[in-house]
């Protein structure tokens, strides 16, 4: 693979970290007369702290792997290939290991790689690849000065070795010219390499520095990446006999930790400063986004269908297991909403079931319990607290054993339901014999919601249902990235939230909207003061005291529909943080409906 890439990418370097042992091996190897390696240009930078980092990583990683293997064996994992779980092949450490400090240009680089070679794209998974290939960054505008400062401060001199392909030599002048000269002055690497057995000629040393800097940066990434296989391969051989072994040990424990804080403490952000505004991309709202996306022809539909069919065969098994007291949780990439819907339409037609859209921003445990008491049990009374209501439901279900209820929860891990109390309550519901729960989770850390006690309440059976289908519904309420781009809370979420409120509350909100729209041309408008607002509401017979108004406002504030600001005179001003276009749309819509 190397040679192929080599011819294709002239500037491709191979950088590899080696431990002391390998170094020695290599020396022996050379004495034996391995000529091939001599051809390769070698550069060596020796410093105080020496191979500490790579060495450490290697050892640590080996242990990790060992531990993993033990554990894996213990679970009997090694014996059987689990068919549906992707887990079989990757040990845990491979999945989410420590992060490297990445080069800002890496992404563009990778993108072009991916674009260029559909098949043999350059591996970005440094760890999994025995040979790490890293492009020499072309120091372009993106490579900002802050970057270099960062380098200087964070990089303690590290001894590393790297290997340059012969072809790279030819191109060296080209990329050296791109390297900023100023860089060299900052170089803090001692020049010990000059008296080591570097194969560079003396005349090269000036250039080496620049290169060294570059390499240092690159290698830093490599150092951090835990590389197991490095031990097996000897590609280059710097000698560093003065390795202080004691130091190595002492630094060991703190190292990973340091790396973490190193990357997190610096307030410097190593990304480019471009913003979306400069891109001049038209702002998209939900509707246009939807329209645009509908034009995309779905790929791999045959395979997706096959996947779905596989899952559909499980429906009857799920029913059986639900009836036997287990609850079912679906996980895996892709929206599981359609799957659950199909489950509902195929097997749950004749049963009482409640569908809960966890991703809906207005959902709460209270509303779930309400729908159970009101819709399912036809109870019209009110309850003092959620706990009371829960107790009542539990008693009811315990008394009437013929009662059966299916709960379908899309996104049990959503923002609104993931709280400890909500989970406790849903768990208690699901532990009832005649309530059957089937839920889906999507969030990466969703299982952290449940401790042992909750897990035993839920009595889960896990099913992996990777569907790759898009989270259209689930993300349509999300008011984050998309909103930032279109600059407003999506209209739909506004209407959804308001629909759940009382007519009075809606009236109050409409008053505020109207006032804000009337003042939209006033550049110094900072909002409607609370007292004025109260007066207006009173006149419209919407509230009878300022306490009730405050209560209503709290509701809005919880849904982030209004913002309050203290003015210079100490008076509270109310503002809807939604752009005026959306508000006009909303008012129109409202008027259509009522």
């Amino acid at each position: 693979m190397m040679s192929k890439l080599e011819s294709k990418e002239d500037k491709m370097l191979e950088v590899q970290f080696v431990g002391d042992d390998d170094v020695l091996n290599h020396i022996l190897d050379r004495e034996g007369g391995a000529k091939i390696k001599k051809e390769r240009a070698q550069l060596l930078v020796n410093t105080k702290k020496i191979i500490k980092k790579p060495e450490y990583d290697l050892e640590e990683d080996d242990q990790e792997v060992l531990k993993d293997q033990n554990y894996v064996e213990v679970l009997g994992r090694h014996v059987q290939e689990s068919l549906k779980n992707g887990s079989a092949t990757d040990g845990g450490n491979k999945v989410y290991s420590f992060q490297n400090r990445k080069h800002p240009e890496k992404m563009a680089k990778l993108a072009s790689e991916l674009a260029k070679t559909p098949r043999k794209s350059v591996s970005s998974n440094l760890k999994s690849d025995p040979e790490i290939t890293i492009d020499i960054p072309q120091c372009s505008k993106g490579h900002s000065a802050s970057d270099k400062v960062q380098l200087k401060t964070t990089l303690t001199p590290v001894n590393f070795s790297y290997m340059e392909r012969p072809t790279a030599n030819n191109d060296k002048s080209e990329f050296l010219s791109t390297a900023p000269r100023g860089l060299r002055k900052r170089l803090i690497v001692p020049r010990s390499h000059s008296d080591s057995e570097s194969e560079y000629s003396a005349s090269n040393s000036e250039d080496d520095e620049g290169v060294a800097q570059e390499y240092e940066e690159d290698t830093n990434e490599v150092i951090l990446s835990e590389q197991i296989q490095a031990q097996n391969r000897v590609l280059s051989a710097p000698v560093c006999k003065e390795t202080p072994s004691k130091k190595m040990k002492r630094d060991k424990t703190s190292d990973l930790v340091e790396e973490y804080f190193e990357a997190h403490s610096s307030s410097k952000v190593l990304t480019s400063d471009r913003t979306l505004q400069k891109l001049k991309r038209a702002k998209l709202d939900q509707q246009t986004l939807h329209n645009l996306l509908s034009k995309v022809s779905p790929s791999f539909s045959a395979e997706l269908k096959q996947l779905n069919q596989q899952y559909e065969q499980l429906f009857h098994k799920w029913m059986l297991q639900l009836h036997l007291g287990f609850n079912i949780v679906l996980y895996g990439l892709g929206s599981k909403r359609d799957l659950l819907e199909r489950f509902r339409t195929t097997v749950l037609q004749d049963c009482i079931h409640v569908v809960i859209n966890g991703f809906f921003p207005g959902i709460s445990v209270k509303s779930i319990l309400n729908s159970i008491t009101e819709e399912v049990l036809n109870h019209m009374g009110t309850f003092r607290s959620v706990v009371d209501q829960l107790d009542w439901i539990i008693n009811k279900f315990k008394e009437e054993s013929s009662l059966e209820l299916f709960l379908l929860i899309h996104n049990l891990d959503s923002q609104m339901l993931r709280g400890d109390k909500s989970q406790q309550i849903i768990g208690q519901l699901s532990s009832l014999r005649n309530i059957y729960l089937i839920a889906s989770i999507d969030h990466l850390n969703a299982p952290l919601m449940w401790d042992h006690a909750k897990q035993s309440l839920y009595n889960w059976l896990w099913y992996e249902t990777t569907t790759y289908s898009h989270y259209t519904e689930e993300t349509s309420y999300e008011n984050s990235l998309l909103v930032k781009q279109s600059g407003s809370l999506p209209l739909s979420s506004l209407t959804h939230v308001l629909r759940s409120l009382t007519p009075n509350a809606r009236g109050i909100f409409r008053l505020l909207i109207k006032y804000q729209l009337d003042n939209q041309d006033n550049p110094s408008y900072i909002g409607l003061s609370f007292q004025d607002f109260y007066q207006q509401c009173r006149e419209a017979f919407l509230v009878n005291s300022d306490l009730t108004l405050r209560a209503q406002l709290t509701e809005f504030r919880d849904h982030k529909l209004i913002r309050t600001k203290k003015g210079t005179d100490g008076v509270e001003y109310l503002l809807i943080p939604v752009d005026n276009g959306t508000l006009t749309d909303f008012l129109e819509k409202e008027e259509e409906e009522f």
Partner: protein, 632 residues
């Protein structure tokens, strides 16, 4: 169980004017605790007193709440007894501020009233004028020390009117009581310590009652048992979960194995065999173990088995019967072997019977090194140890009603008798040698002395080679070995074992011990794993540019550190996607195509946000923050 001993314990020792306190040290974070305490409460309520209250630390931040909870629960449980006659009073009482005084007056009232009505239980000793109030504090460590101290001091003042027994649940060590309570307070208590059984023992009981018996035909294969015990030992120590795993394997077995109809007790299975359909017969013929069995038969019988339904059914019946017999023998011999190996130094075959069972299921135990070393160790045991083991073993065989093991039991009895008689013989022998020695001493002649010494040496060498005891021990070991050789065969060697054994360990692990993160990671990194499209096949660590949008976006975001510039990201995304589209030769205007790609990017990003990989940040405009640390 601990529960019954608790209720007994509080009656045996009763110092006057002191409250007694019982601590039940239990492990940390075990889901079974609720069950334990619930059964404890039940036992107490049935046998000792109707007034059992259990409190949790989170309900009682201070004394007021503590008393309130105590009083309301106490009166509730009393209401149950009195068939809720005074519900109206109950409601008004809720608002009263409770004090120990009011509690004790309430208690006086109740006991006086109920005394004539409820006949004393037999087990309640006469010292108790009326049933005591039992207060269970499930998690003693998490109570505020102030509350505990105050409560103990106050209630010790009222002990005459208000007999109280405290039960503390302790998760750490009993010393914690003294650490939480100063001497002045703890001296008011009469502490009695009870230890609940460790969960491992519960596990042993469960296995013993459910699996190591012929009563229930359902059996687990080695891997399944391994997975279940490992989840138990490495994850939660919860018997409840272990039982859940058992239930699931039972469910899976009956769901997936068509021949599991025959997995029932023997007479019923025999009856069912007669009603097997052609299809089911075909299923039997297809069983690998059955095919192996057929191949070993004579050719005529082979033909009959494969063509004649009647004959097949008869054969199946006898095979099932054999299987049953095999299991009876198996478990007896297993227990017997366990008796011998469980106390060996270093436990080559495990201390628990489940470890031994696992080894036996895993491979032929005769081939295992552990077995060889266990036998080796047995050959070195002293007589009294061997005798003790033999005794236990004898009991095991005696307890089984199986006829054909009468012989074995007899053999063991014989061994026992022989070992006992060894004692007498050894004494005689000793006398012999002493006689000869005394004889040798009589003659003072140097020549004779030398001669007799030589003789003695000779004599000792021959006897050294094998004393009677050693011979007997050798016999015993080989006897055990023969038992193992004969009966502890692998279940896989038995025809029709598939009917009873559940072996799909991986489904069990998938559903009980799933790894959602890894699944997510695989789906994003290697879509080919799920979508078997050749276009998606790639080397490890890289993805083709035709992969689903979210995979590409994910891959690109891995290249960034803490913050990601949305513009860079979207451009990189566009580069990849455009390259992929070019190959499709889509003829849409470039502007529109760009729009669409941007929309796809937005979708991918918001999906990644939903999955929790990124979140919006205000640190820098148009940036998102990565939430996963690593994943290069």
């Amino acid at each position: 169980m601990a529960t019954s001993s608790v209720s007994k314990g509080c009656f045996v020792f009763k110092p006057n004017f002191k409250k007694r306190k019982i601590s039940v040290p239990i492990g940390v974070n075990v889901t079974d605790h609720d069950l334990t305490f619930r059964s404890l409460t039940e036992v107490l309520q049935n046998n000792v007193t109707p007034y059992v209250v259990s409190l949790q630390a989170k309900d009682c931040p201070d004394m007021k709440h503590f008393l309130q909870k105590l009083a309301s629960q106490l009166m509730d449980c009393n209401v149950d007894v009195q068939s809720k006659e005074k519900e109206g009073v109950q409601v008004t009482q809720k608002k009263i501020h409770y004090s120990m005084d009011s509690l004790s007056t309430w208690y006086m009232n109740v006991t006086q009233k109920t005394d004539p009505k409820i006949p004393r239980k037999k087990r309640t000793p006469s010292q108790w004028q009326s049933p005591p109030v039992v207060l269970i504090l499930k998690d003693m460590e998490s109570f505020t020390t102030k509350v505990l101290q105050d409560f103990i001091i106050i209630s010790s003042q009222h002990l005459h009117e208000f007999p109280l027994i405290l039960i503390f649940g302790i998760a750490t060590s009993p010393i914690v009581v003294h650490r939480l309570l100063p001497h002045a307070v703890s001296s008011l208590l009469c502490i009695e310590l009870f230890q609940s059984l460790s969960c491992k023992e519960h596990l042993t009981t469960v296995l013993d009652k459910l699996l190591l018996t012929t009563q229930f035909p359902f059996k687990l294969s080695e891997k399944v048992l391994q997975v279940l015990t490992n989840i138990f030992l490495y994850h939660d120590f919860s018997i409840q979960n272990f039982i859940k795993g058992l239930q699931l394997s039972l469910l899976e077995h009956f769901y997936s194995q068509p021949l599991s109809v025959l997995c029932c007790n023997l007479p019923e299975a025999k009856r069912r065999i007669n009603f097997l359909s052609d299809n089911q017969c075909e299923n039997i013929r297809r069983l690998p173990s059955f095919r192996r069995y057929v191949e070993k038969q004579a050719s005529e019988k082979q033909v009959a088995l494969l063509t004649n339904e009647r004959f097949l059914k008869e054969e199946t019946q006898s095979l099932l019967e054999n299987l049953h017999v095999y299991h009876t023998n198996y478990f007896l011999v297993l227990r017997c072997l366990h008796q011998f190996t469980s106390s060996l130094p270093k436990y080559p075959l495990g201390r628990q019977i489940r470890e031994l069972y696992c080894t036996c299921l895993e491979k032929n135990i005769l081939d295992s090194e552990e077995y060889a070393s266990a036998l080796q160790l047995l050959r070195m045991l002293a007589k009294d140890e061997l005798m003790a083991m033999l005794q236990k073993c004898f009991k095991v065989f005696k307890s089984s009603s199986e006829k054909h093991f009468g012989n074995t039991a007899k053999r063991i009895e014989e061994f026992l008798a022989q070992f006992q008689s060894l004692d007498a013989e050894a004494k005689e022998e000793e006398e012999d040698t002493s006689e000869s020695q005394s004889k040798g001493l009589q003659k003072t002649d140097l020549y004779h002395l030398q001669k007799s010494l030589l003789e003695m040496k000779e004599l000792r060498r021959t006897s050294k080679r094998q004393t009677k005891f050693e011979v007997l021990r050798e016999q015993l070991v080989s006897f055990i070995d023969s038992l193992v050789r004969e009966y502890l065969l692998l279940p896989e060697t038995q025809p029709l074992h598939e009917v009873l054994y559940f072996s799909a360990a991986h489904t069990l692990r998938q559903h009980l011990n799933a790894a959602p993160r890894i699944a997510l990671h695989t789906a994003l990194n290697n879509p080919y794993y799920y979508l078997k499209n050749e276009a998606l096949r790639s080397e490890e660590g890289c993805i083709p540019n035709v992969a689903p949008d979210i995979c590409i976006a994910y891959k690109l975001h891995l290249e960034c550190s803490r913050l990601i510039n949305l513009v860079d990201w979207s451009e990189a995304f566009a580069t990849v996607v455009t390259a992929a589209e070019k190959m499709d030769a889509n003829s849409v205007t470039s502007e529109e195509r760009n729009e669409i790609i941007h929309a796809r990017f937005i979708r991918a990003v918001s999906e990644l946000e939903l999955l929790g990989f990124i979140k919006p940040t205000k640190q820098k405009t148009d940036h998102v923050a990565r939430l996963t640390w690593g994943g290069c």
